[in-house]
Symmetry: C2
Subunit: 482 residues, 2 copies
């Protein structure tokens, strides 16, 4: 029997938290004397009342939270957050359509960054700030979930990774979840503030700097400008954001150890090494390609290449150039990067570098197994043998990811005419990236899509953010059988 009360009670607590976070855009709105002030007052109150109602009906709930309750809480909290989080957009009429407002909010919390807005610069400051803040909350939310909270619940899927996450291991965290969560939040906050100051140092105003540092560290990609980072024709700003995107796509516990005086842990980590290798290889290929097919010169070619590569690999989604205008094979390289994603324990989405490493290694080991069929050859990762169960899980994840991708493309093809747009929209939503291909490229937006397609893509964002298994487990009949 599921403990429904504790589920509602947890959601209630979290909603009260959300209502408090709405006070930040309220303050911004008051400072900038925006037209959106009242929308935050109403939204915050509605969310607070909803949260309090949940609490009052469940004050007798038993404290026990089992694994199944954990799965449900982790899944539906994003839906509740997006529902209440979209209120400011609707009430302020910044986004009049509820379909669009929900899409924009889910895209925010899941740090996707796909937007239906085509008038970003006309929106009031409070609304823009709330948009960025949803990403920042969602970004750290997922890191804390995957590194601190889920392992304690014993929840599968992402747990397999957090259990394997180097540095901070499950055993070390369990007795002190709160400490781990606090450390991670602090690292995140400090990185965000440093980036903000560095961007202001490069000439960005305070408002743009805080917004972009929030959405960089979240690998979210929402911008205060319709043209994204291309708005600033400044190498300094491009390189600073590139650097912080790389940082945001790195396992936060590795960054913490690096700061704490153990950088060796980072540079010995196989996932980190492969992550950097992917970025450097793709950048080298694209720089060469851009040099050969344009007259941009070395620095600009390199900068456009590395910015776009890092933006896609880390699943941020900022743009300084439209990769759809590049030579087709260069666009294809970018699209390949849609299927990699950030590191485990980072704010990045997608398949994740660690899984790619394990998939490649297992293929190599499979060949050795075919040559020496009687030898038992376990895959080694970070100098340890990897349990075969984890390999099977990663392989099953990959198959599910491809299967979900393919079937989702079929669904989106009901609403669009070309494969590029469908594949781009689906890969981008599922990988929590933002821009896609075709009609949803980096200088376009998702406004034109049918509402049903928007709801479906919102679902894919959540599915991808929780790394498939969490949602699919809940949707499976076996979960509900006893």
């Amino acid at each position: 029997m599921l403990n429904y009360k504790i589920i509602l009670r947890t959601i209630g607590f979290l909603l009260i938290g959300e209502s408090l976070f709405m006070l930040f855009p309220l303050i911004i709105s008051i400072i900038y004397k925006g037209t959106d002030t009242s929308s935050f007052i109403y939204s915050s109150l509605i969310t607070l009342v909803a949260g309090a109602t949940f609490l009052s009906f469940t004050y007798k709930a038993k404290k026990q939270v089992g694994k199944r309750e954990g799965y449900i809480i982790v899944s539906i909290v994003w839906i509740f957050f997006s529902f209440f989080g979209s209120l400011p957009f609707v009430i302020s009429q910044a986004i009049p359509s509820y379909h669009d407002a929900f899409f924009e909010t889910m895209s925010g919390f899941t740090t996707t960054g796909a937007s239906i807005l085509n008038n970003i610069e006309e929106l009031p400051h409070g609304i823009l700030f709330w948009r960025s803040l949803t990403q920042w909350l969602g970004g750290m939310g997922i890191v804390v979930l995957s590194l601190a909270i889920l392992p304690a619940f014993g929840i599968g899927g992402m747990t397999l990774f957090s259990a394997e996450a180097p540095g901070v291991t499950t055993e070390k965290i369990n007795p002190k979840i709160k400490d781990t969560a606090r450390i991670l939040w602090n690292v995140y906050l400090v990185f965000t503030l440093i980036e903000m100051f560095l961007l202001m140092f490069g000439g960005m105003n305070f408002f743009d700097a805080i917004n972009h540092s929030l959405t960089t560290m979240a690998t979210g990609g929402y911008s205060t400008k319709q043209t994204s980072i291309a708005y600033w024709d400044s190498p300094y700003i491009h390189y600073i954001i590139t650097f912080f995107m790389i940082l945001a796509g790195t396992n936060f516990s590795l960054s913490y150890f690096a700061i704490a005086g153990k950088p060796g842990k980072m540079f010995r980590n196989e996932e980190f090494k492969f992550y950097i290798l992917i970025i450097l290889t793709a950048t080298a290929l694209l720089t060469t390609g851009l040099m050969l097919t344009s007259d941009l010169g070395l620095e600009k070619s390199f900068r456009n290449a590395i910015f776009q590569v890092v933006s896609i690999v880390t699943t941020t989604g900022f743009a300084t150039d439209d990769y759809l205008l590049w030579a087709p094979v260069l666009t294809a390289i970018i699209f390949l990067l849609f299927f990699i994603g950030g590191s485990t324990g980072s704010t990045g989405g997608g398949i994740k570098v660690m899984r790619i490493v394990l998939l490649l290694k297992n293929s190599y080991y499979e060949l050795r197994r075919l040559i020496h069929p009687n030898a038992v050859i376990p895959v080694r990762y970070n100098k340890k043998s990897v349990n075969q169960q984890i390999i099977t899980n990663v392989l099953a994840f990959f198959f599910l990811y491809v299967a979900v991708f393919v079937f989702s493309c079929l669904v989106i093809m009901l609403f669009v005419d070309d494969f590029d747009t469908a594949m781009g929209a689906v890969a981008s939503s599922l990988g929590n990236i933002g821009p896609g291909l075709g009609a949803v490229g980096p200088v376009e937006n998702y406004a034109f899509l049918h509402p049903a397609a928007k709801w479906f893509l919102s679902f894919l964002m959540l599915l991808g953010r929780l790394e498939l298994f969490t949602i699919i487990v809940i949707l499976s009949p076996a979960f509900w059988k006893r």
Copy 2:
């Protein structure tokens, strides 16, 4: 130390076999008084001399054929066959470019059916017959390899399947490889002859009937008409070919048992049931789709749907309609079928239905494992537990297939401008299908491609035909280390 002599000796024997098979198109050429008669005499002689030379230099070879020798023979025999098999095309000047002739021959032997010809009806009868015969030889070649010869060599990759292939199991075959091979050849020959008579009964002339029955049973797809089966506006011919394509995509040992009075084995087989389910589901969806978006009427919609579905699923590649002109979502359904393939132990290529079944089952079991992490839950197939090694192999195969697909698309994007053409050409070559998307759709051909792209696609055909592992094992350094 590799026994190179026995490798060359085996190839020598097989080339003499190929030179003898060239006498069939020679006879056809003489009967139809074609301009290509001398080209077959020369080609057959050159091939015979080459084969005899190999034999004379290796008459002292030790008879021992190890596993590694087996891998090499199985791989390079296709290259030798395609090299010598392309001679009639070049010598007769039917295909003046050697790039094109090799592509056409490799496409034949691998039963792909991708063609560079845009003047099929102008070619002499002998040449057309040789083209069809390459497919027929390649088609049965792969069945005999996978069900009779490879298990005896103990070769991995496909063996895992043949070992699991229901009905004929390894233990039963080992002592009597020749018997099994003979039975399979007989079934193949009889089916081909029956189809030929049924096509002639429907009004097709002898030459067209023999060619199409050869390429149907091989799931090859070469036609004697530029417009493929659409040339015949006959429901009877369309349905007959549909039926025999389904048969060709079915495990030949199951068909043998059905003929031998044990049809139950076929209908209890999970792969066969899923194969039929896929065909029926896709046909139902596409029939509905075509009814809604055209004024073809029920029978024509159904016929166009089932013919195209079966042609792609079985990896034959015949066409009675251009699926690129259908509503985009219907084309997308067809493209999804590019990634299924025929049954194991059939002449069909692709991922194969059995792997799809195991991938889907394993995903479901993985969810159950997440819910009950301490339970050991093996995947069951045809009422038996499947060894975890086989599951890992299938999962690794799927990852490799996707990885090869993606990287090959990147390579082809160097030569074409749009993703559709690249994805279509690669999926079609790797799956041994024939037609693709975009500029290589069912009413187009591969002539316009850069020679480098043609050589690369030829390599993919071989890679796909031998189910990846065989070729990749040989290309891996571990294979050559001792």
